[in-house]
């Protein structure tokens, strides 16, 4: 790296760091106000550019909307997907960023959540139909959506524990391939099992207002804004809860395990237990996201839950800045939003995505919005590596 480039980087780092420091230096109530304003803005996002209740537009802002281009996608729909992915990223961040476990099969939990609501909530699912036959229920009967939530949570938690129990003893990269296999197994099993609807998937998945129908006024098939607000609310709630974990002995234990597992064990931390918790919590969040996805889509099929999606999830976390919730949320948002906004590139989209991944990682390996700890870690590691320079 040339001296000039180094200086530039240095300066840029200061600028970024400076912003963060200035934020931290603000009085508490000002920070609260800032956060509240930010949240309000998030709720306003579906109308970006419009002033609700009027016909006025704020010029310029609608440039950001995905439907501002020809053939663009429904803006609220994109936002909804962004919110889902943010939820996923927050969950995966617990696993990767906090506990330091590389999970390449996270899509499995997303699938479990989605399938839970599909198989129990839809009248068209083989599971529900067999229950109807078994217990002589009416053809309209299915498990209510609200009941599907705990079912989905329970199933994904159990999936997390089932996956973690035998495999968490494995070292890093072994875990990666095993989790990847797990994600694939979930997908293939769903694809080949009659009770899961096979490759054709399951349709008729309910939402908060029940099975899909034209009478669903709030959470219907047509208007997506309410779905976005629902997902956003869930995201905010989860951010709150995960923050609590992060700043407790649990978060500390995760950190200690990441740094030196054996030493942590000798200091009384039970690595297995905390790793399993990380897995379970991550799984539950993934499942929740999957549930929302399935409810909104009303139809799912196994091919959706492929390895590529898993990899995209990991990329969201790493590109955003693993370990920092704001970072991973940004990563998730960008990776979901940019390809939609720049649909015009159509056939070059994947190419651009690949190039972007490489460039971001080479220029900013700590991620776009890293946690301070990660930045430092990386700098320290860099300092240690100086063999064969020149």
């Amino acid at each position: 790296m040339t001296e000039a480039l180094r200086q530039f980087n240095e300066r840029r780092r200061h600028a970024f760091g400076g912003m963060a420091d200035r934020w931290r230096a603000l009085p508490r109530w000002q920070r609260w106000l800032g956060v509240l304003a930010g949240i309000a803005f998030l709720y306003y996002l579906p109308f970006l550019g419009d002033i609700p209740g009027t016909n006025l537009i704020i010029p310029g802002l609608d440039w950001f909307r995905t439907d501002s281009i020809a053939g663009g996608s429904n803006w609220a729909g994109v936002l909804f997907v962004c919110a889902l992915y943010v939820l996923v990223a927050i969950g995966l961040n617990v696993v990767i960023g906090l506990a330091g476990l590389l999970d390449l099969g996270y899509v499995g939990f997303y699938a479990v959540g989605a399938y839970s609501v599909a198989l129990f909530g839809s009248t068209q699912s083989p599971v529900v139909q067999s229950m109807q036959r078994q217990f002589g229920l009416s053809e309209e009967w299915a498990v209510a959506w609200a009941v599907c939530i705990p079912i989905a949570l329970a199933f994904s938690l159990v999936a997390g524990v089932l996956l973690g129990w035998p495999t968490l003893r494995l070292r890093g990269d072994y875990l990666a391939i095993v989790t990847l296999g797990f994600g694939e197994i979930i997908r293939i099993v769903a694809k080949n099992s009659g009770w899961a609807g096979q490759a054709q998937g399951v349709a008729g998945i309910p939402g908060p207002e029940g099975p899909p129908s034209a009478d669903n006024t709030v959470f219907g098939l047509l208007k997506i804004e309410p779905w976005y607000w629902l997902a956003l609310t869930v995201v905010l709630l989860m951010v709150l809860l995960v923050r609590r974990l992060e700043h407790s002995r649990v978060g500390r234990s995760w950190l200690a395990i990441r740094e030196d597992e054996d030493a942590a064990a000798v200091m009384g931390v039970y690595p297995f237990k905390f790793k399993l918790w990380a897995f379970a919590i991550g799984a539950a969040l993934g499942g929740l996201s999957g549930l929302l996805f399935a409810s909104r889509s009303t139809f799912i099929q196994p091919e959706t839950f492929n390895v590529q999606l898993s990899i995209l999830f990991v990329a969201m976390v790493v590109v955003g800045g693993s370990g920092n919730m704001a970072g991973v949320a940004l990563g998730a948002f960008l990776l979901a939003y940019l390809p939609e906004r720049f649909r015009d590139f159509s056939e070059y989209r994947v190419l651009a995505f690949g190039l972007a991944l490489v460039l971001i990682m080479l220029l900013r390996p700590q991620g776009l919005l890293p946690s301070r700890r990660r930045t430092r870690e990386l700098q320290d590691r860099a300092k240690e590596a100086a063999v064969n320079v020149a």
Binding site: Q379, A386, V387, N388
Partner: protein, 236 residues
């Protein structure tokens, strides 16, 4: 002059560990480098062997400027270091570890002879020649690190705390070995906490304090210097 360091500055990120030190080692000498923890002794060694890039200043070896030479090329010029923390190859056997010491050598007969010599010096290593380096005890690893450095038959041998973690008897041996190989013609730069021993074996010594050389002199002079005595030799 075999090694000549001039105004050497070394940084770890923004921390400056060495603030322009100058020292030299003559052919055939044993030179000791002493100082408290964190004084910069190991940093000096790393700079010489090329493990750390140098910020300012120059290093000359055998008349050649090696300031920016790659580490592995310095080995070919005849500098070998037994690093702090031993640097064992954990998954290689003791024998393979020793062979690695002779990586740049081609004279098979000479290598075999040196291997024998190391095994006589450290019979424990001979016993364990098939054991993996990573499973050796701390002291055994230290012996392996020193033995491995000897295997490269360097012109200049850099030893960073060779006595660390060794039992008292072996410590004696190590210092005897240092004297012996020096007499056989190897120049040695030695970093030691055991200043007493180091200075009594060394021709000359340097005292390092927070990245600066604060004293230099013959081994005997330093050994009897009151301030050195107080700070590094302990009240006996």
């Amino acid at each position: 002059m075999l090694l000549e360091i001039d105004d050497l500055t070394l940084r770890y990120g923004r921390i400056e560990a060495l603030h322009g030190i100058s020292l030299h080692v003559e052919e055939g000498e044993v030179v000791a480098l002493i100082g408290a923890n964190g004084a910069g002794k190991s940093s000096t060694m790393r700079a010489i062997s090329g493990l750390r890039p140098v910020a300012l200043g120059s290093i000359r070896f055998n008349g050649e400027d090696i300031t920016n030479l790659r580490a592995d090329l310095r080995v070919r010029r005849g500098i070998c270091q037994a690093p702090e923390g031993r640097g064992i190859f954990p998954g290689m056997t003791v024998l393979d570890n020793l062979d690695m010491g002779a990586y740049t050598r081609r004279d098979h007969a000479g290598i075999a002879a040196d291997l024998d010599r190391v095994f006589t010096l450290f019979p424990r290593l001979a016993e364990r020649r098939r054991q993996h380096g990573g499973t050796l005890s701390g002291g055994e690893q230290q012996m392996l690190a020193v033995g491995r450095a000897l295997m490269s038959r360097p012109k200049l041998l850099l030893l960073d705390e060779p006595s660390m973690g060794l039992a008292p008897m072996i410590i004696q041996q190590i210092f005897d070995i240092i004297t012996e190989i020096n007499q056989q013609g190897t120049t040695i730069l030695l970093v030691e906490q055991n200043a007493q021993q180091a200075l009594s074996r060394a021709h000359r010594g340097y005292v390092l304090e927070t990245g600066r050389i604060v004293k230099e002199g013959t081994g005997q002079d330093l050994l009897h210097d009151p301030s050195v005595k107080e700070a590094y030799l302990g009240v006996a």
